[in-house]
Symmetry: C3
Subunit: 273 residues, 3 copies
């Protein structure tokens, strides 16, 4: 049950090492704390092995990729692999630049990833080994809708199987698959796209969920997606006249902070395919 | 009309490439989303040309200047010039250090800038080719007041003419000129100076406005200044007992998010000189 | 009186140079503004001496240590020492990695520090010259409680005496000593640990307090600790149903913004040992 995944995070207080972008890093740290984990950030190549060793999981996000931090991503990832820690890749902007696309593909090749989370354009880029995305947001032409759902589920399952890890594609409808089963999740609000970094936040939180739920990784990844989407709905419900995207950002993290296992069970909207 | 400038941003959803400081970057991203644009951040030299190519405008801010990102500023700027994208420079702290002053002057020399936005001390530094500012805030001796207004308008017009671009000096009274006309804008609240990064936010938003309004750049720059100041007034009006600068930050971005063209027309306080 | 320390910050508007991590930097800047100071961030080795020269105090925080910024820490620190500015070290994560531990120890050796502020595990690491901490949070085994208080006071006094500077250990009970006297402070809320960066914020604010109160450094450091803890209590008192750690973050900074000297005198809970 999703509820157990949530409660395992609150019980085990997983320490998550984040190599992430400087745009959304503060919100990533606060959402990891909100869900019950504890974040550490470190991207310096000489620092990352020690830091990953005291943590339980690793979140790699290429949102503001620097050549100096790429080495850190590989060193942290290899150490995490050695230690059996879950490793998540968030390929922000893959398809928008050669450096991002190639770095993401190299990370996939050289590391054993537990999960990849991105929008449909980024994930397609990785699946094709190339591609074009409209910046860091999903190309509209690629959007997962009720009309394109069957095809999208098949694509995500296929990519998860070939990549050998969980793949989470988030958007209007979210898909999370390990290659065999696919969670189709319908939580969330379109207004979440008007806040910078809800995707990055989800990646950080998902890493905490994977770390705290080693025996049920697919369910844990899906639970994190439901928590984020449901928090978006709860946060939206608390919006008042005059509130906008900056307040909404706070309310979503607040909703993650306050969410109980029972609320999650009751509010999660998903089906298995 | 200013209203059209605002609506053009909401209609065209301009993608803005930001090379900016890590202090205020999250608020810059959220304010660009709030006004109707979409932000991407990238400062790595090898990454910036690809990123600028998928965007419509470029915002360069030297608030936490690194030698490694200076190359990225030049490469992104040259690519943006090639593509005919608007390029804005925010010379944060010019005058406070030789590295900042010289980098800003070099960027002015080697790039074709569309606009420069800063406080009066920073802009004077660029105009003089040297100077001293009190950190990142304007030197009080330089403040644009009703008493010094005539002289300040003359100075800003002159500098805009010699620099060959729009110059926006923001403070208690804001001045925006293309060398011929000068908008004198009296929106805003003094308490905005107690929030880090309202200037950086304005630079990001102004870049979105310039990108979405190629045929009316001066008016677009002035519109962005009015939006920010008016959002500061609206946000202040929603402050409650016990609220302070952190909540005020959220309320300002929220006000940008909710602002309509008609509200802007009604609330903008400016005259042309 | 603590009240005078607070009022001296509001009167003298101290400019604080921060070399700090990119996770919590925005909140650090806003809390320095909230308490009455003015922040500048710069970590580039070529930039820091100029920036420190226009400031009044220096805050060094190793929370996301980069090899490229280590040189900046030493150059800024030496320049600040030359100029007689207060220098504070926040050894975030000392004990969690060799790079962090060694850098913190080297900074202690080569710079004349005015104050060191950290959690008990970080401070123990520096005192021992080695150690292990659970990431960036204090090891529970080390927690300062009523039971371990006598021993902890003795430890902090001893370390302050041997380090030759003020030492502030913050946690459930906060200890601030110059080697002779020790403030034992009981302000604050446990929920502050669910927000990223309350410690970093305190370090920034403490630097502003040290800068504005050169004749009473120990009292100034203790006042900053009381302000942060009391703001945590006031902010918590304003929490509403559904609020969580993201809103709490805003409310704490807001409370710092609104705090008066008299409120501080009335709310500060401390004894001298």
């Amino acid at each position: 049950m999703l509820k157990d995944c949530l409660e395992n995070v609150r019980k085990s207080f997983p320490l998550v090492h984040n190599i992430t972008n400087y745009v959304t890093v503060n919100d990533v740290a606060n959402v990891i704390l909100a869900c019950g984990g504890s974040p550490i950030m470190s991207d310096e190549a000489e620092d990352v092995e020690d830091i990953t060793s005291v943590c339980g999981g690793l979140n790699i996000n290429i949102g503001t990729l620097h050549k100096t931090s790429i080495e850190g991503m590989f060193r942290a990832g290899k150490k995490a692999n050695e230690l059996g820690h879950p490793v998540l890749l968030d390929p922000v902007g893959a398809g928008a630049s050669a450096l991002r696309t190639n770095t993401a593909l190299d990370l996939m090749k050289e590391l054993k990833l537990t999960a990849i989370r991105g929008n449909i354009s980024e994930i397609k880029t990785l699946a094709m080994g190339s591609g074009t995305t409209k910046g860091v947001d999903a190309d509209v032409a690629d959007a997962v809708t009720e009309e394109t759902l069957d095809e999208a589920v098949k694509f995500v399952k296929g990519f998860a199987a070939s990549a050998g890890c969980i793949v989470a594609v988030t958007g209007a409808i979210d898909l999370v698959s390990d290659g065999e089963t696919c969670y189709v999740i319908r939580n969330g609000r379109p207004e979440m796209g008007k806040i910078t970094g809800t995707g990055c936040q989800l990646s950080g939180m998902m890493t905490a969920y994977l770390t705290a739920n080693p025996g049920r990784l697919l369910e844990a990844a899906a639970a994190a997606v439901c928590v984020m989407g449901l928090a978006g709905e709860i946060g939206w419900g608390r919006m008042q006249d005059g509130d906008g995207n900056s307040t909404y950002r706070n309310r979503i993290i607040d909703a993650v902070y306050n969410m109980t296992g029972n609320e999650l069970e009751k509010g999660a909207l998903y089906e298995l395919r």
